[in-house]
Amino acid sequence: MLNFTLRKLIGMIPMLIIITFLIYWGIELMPGDVIDFLIPMDQLAEMSAEEIAAFKAAKGLDGPMIVRYLSWLKDVCTGNLGFSLQNNMPVSELMMQKLPATIELSLAALIISTVLGILLGVVSALKKGKIADNVLTVAGMIGVAIPQFLFGIFCIILFCLQLNWFPVGQRGDGGLLSELHHLFLPAFVLGISQTAGVMRYSRSSMLDSMNRDYVKTARAKGLPEWKVNMYHGFRVACTPVMVLIGFRLPTLISGAIVIENIFQWPGVGRWFTDAIKTQNTPIIMSVGLFMVLMVLLSSLLVDVLTAVLDPRVKLS
């Protein structure tokens, strides 16, 4: 297993280089000049060509793209993510401010969607064909059909404006209670909108495992029904559900872009969309690198986890 993990990790390096190069190239091709976003229009009009060139050189914006990409790559390898073009703050420092907010939101949503999704999926599978199952299936489909941002708006109208239970947007101010108070609604919206998928998946994998021979054997042994369901049915049904959750880890961060905007959550997603609007290359590259790394690492995690959970799977 160690061998497999190491090989995969080494295989990620060329992949990361190709993808980051593509993103860098993409930013380079964007219409408009970065300089327009850095210097106010009236000042720019008064600057001479030499002054602009000097300004660009000071910011490291001159020279051919490939040279700049390579120097970015070199910096990243030494742990330097660069400086924000807008305010010259180190990107790593800004990242440390934004990342906790996103991780907090995503993790809470992941927990909500996992617990709720597995629970409802198992109930649905055990009650297959009955009213509970049909209601849950239809509810799940309605859940998938509502755009995340609309669900967020509905929740804000209901819980923040009408009932006044939660504050609108923003993060809490340090105290645990205030943090939770602010966190709950966005995490709830993000979590619920992802529950339907988990529910559907755990329903079908539970149904699948309930038809297997070992479940029948367990039932024939005379085990109580709940023990059959939990120890024999559910345990095996868990593996594919874990795989799904593993694949969801990275989408939680990019999936939070919309929710972060709606709830004015000061996380990576909002920061990223703002950076794209102003062509702030160091920020776009750092966030992009981080997101891609998450995808690659979680797919590795999924491979390893499946092998650990399911003894029939062999890594190769």
């Binding site: 064909g129 309605i142 755009p147 941002f149 609309l150 309930m210 872009i257 919309v258 969309t273």
Partner: protein, 311 residues
């Protein structure tokens, strides 16, 4: 499903099988699939809803009195009335006609992108997956790369790159949608390749192209069609999300996403407009109903094309 209790749908499918075996109904596979589909209440409901919304949108001139672009400065943000059933927007344009004309574009974006992605992904998957070799390796790596970049991030970067327009959005959706189609078609082909009928076709000296598209494709069609319906729904939702982030189709063009996103201002909610519900709520409901109808149809098709689900 042997020892689980039979559901209402199972009982219906049993009836179909009995009728087929007694010779009352034809036994062609398409007949059976269609019959299974029509016995699924949700799928029928979805199909009706889908047809109704499509007729409304594509026959928009028949159901509306106003042009979607005609604005009147005397009737800005007017409440719903007999003259304008869903009121008017911030420029005095009739919302009902904007919803219908906008629906055209949203449906075209969703369906067009899904079909385009399927065409690209399935053609490549069927042919290259069957042949294997270095082209397959490269495409597989490419699909991996495309799937490694979070979809929303990739779409935002490409939109910023090529600019906002209808065609660009469809192209971007196709670009981000083909890898999953490619993978699906490829895995299907890999299992079909070992089937005996394919081996014997090869032995008869029939060309690879013909085997791939004439003989293998029909066998893989079920999951492909399901995937197309479900990605149509996904693309329509993504179009709406992109509009909220200001990365969608240009604002002057009415789409469901653009109509709904008046309630937001570069991502954040415009609280002073929340009580003007007619400006965004009816259109949201229409979008939700449409996506729901596609999901019902797709789900019904998944069950209908699944041969393990009869009798």
């Amino acid at each position: 499903m042997k020892n689980t209790k039979k559901t209402a749908l199972d009982r219906k499918l049993d009836k179909i099988r009995v009728a087929e075996e007694s010779g009352k109904l034809g036994t062609k596979l398409t007949n059976r699939t269609l019959r299974k589909l029509t016995s699924n209440k949700l799928a029928v409901f979805g199909a009706i809803l889908f047809v109704v919304i499509c007729v409304l949108c594509f026959g928009a001139p028949l159901f509306t009195r106003y042009s979607p672009t005609e604005f009147s400065l005397t009737e800005i943000q007017a409440k719903p009335s007999l003259a304008h059933i869903f009121g008017t927007d911030q420029m005095g344009r009739d919302i009902w006609s904007r919803m219908l004309y906008g629906g055209r574009i949203s449906i075209i974006v969703g369906l067009g992108s899904a079909l385009g992605a399927a065409l690209l992904g399935v053609t490549l998957g069927m042919y290259v997956g069957y042949l294997g070799g270095w082209v397959d390796k490269i495409l597989m790596k490419l699909a991996d790369i495309f799937m490694s970049i979070p979809q929303m991030v990739m779409i935002i970067i490409i939109v910023a790159l090529v600019g906002q327009s209808l065609q660009n959005l469809i192209i971007i959706f196709i670009l981000t949608g083909w890898p999953s189609m490619y993978r699906m078609a490829r895995s299907k082909v890999l299992s079909l390749r070992e089937e005996e009928f394919v081996q014997s076709l090869r032995a008869f000296g029939i060309s690879r192209t013909k085997i791939a598209f004439k003989h293998m494709l029909p066998n893989a069609l079920g999951p492909i069609v399901v995937n197309i319906t479900l990605s149509t729904a996904m693309f329509i939702l993504q179009e709406a999300s992109l509009s909220v982030l200001n990365y969608g189709v240009p604002m002057e063009l009415a789409t469901w996403g653009n109509i709904i996103s008046v309630i937001t201002n570069s991502g954040t909610i415009r609280f002073d407009w929340l009580d003007k519900w007619w400006m965004w709520l009816p259109c949201s409901i229409m979008l939700i109903l449409f996506v729901l109808s596609i999901n019902f149809i797709g789900d019904g098709m998944r069950d209908a094309s699944d041969p393990t689900q009869i009798g």
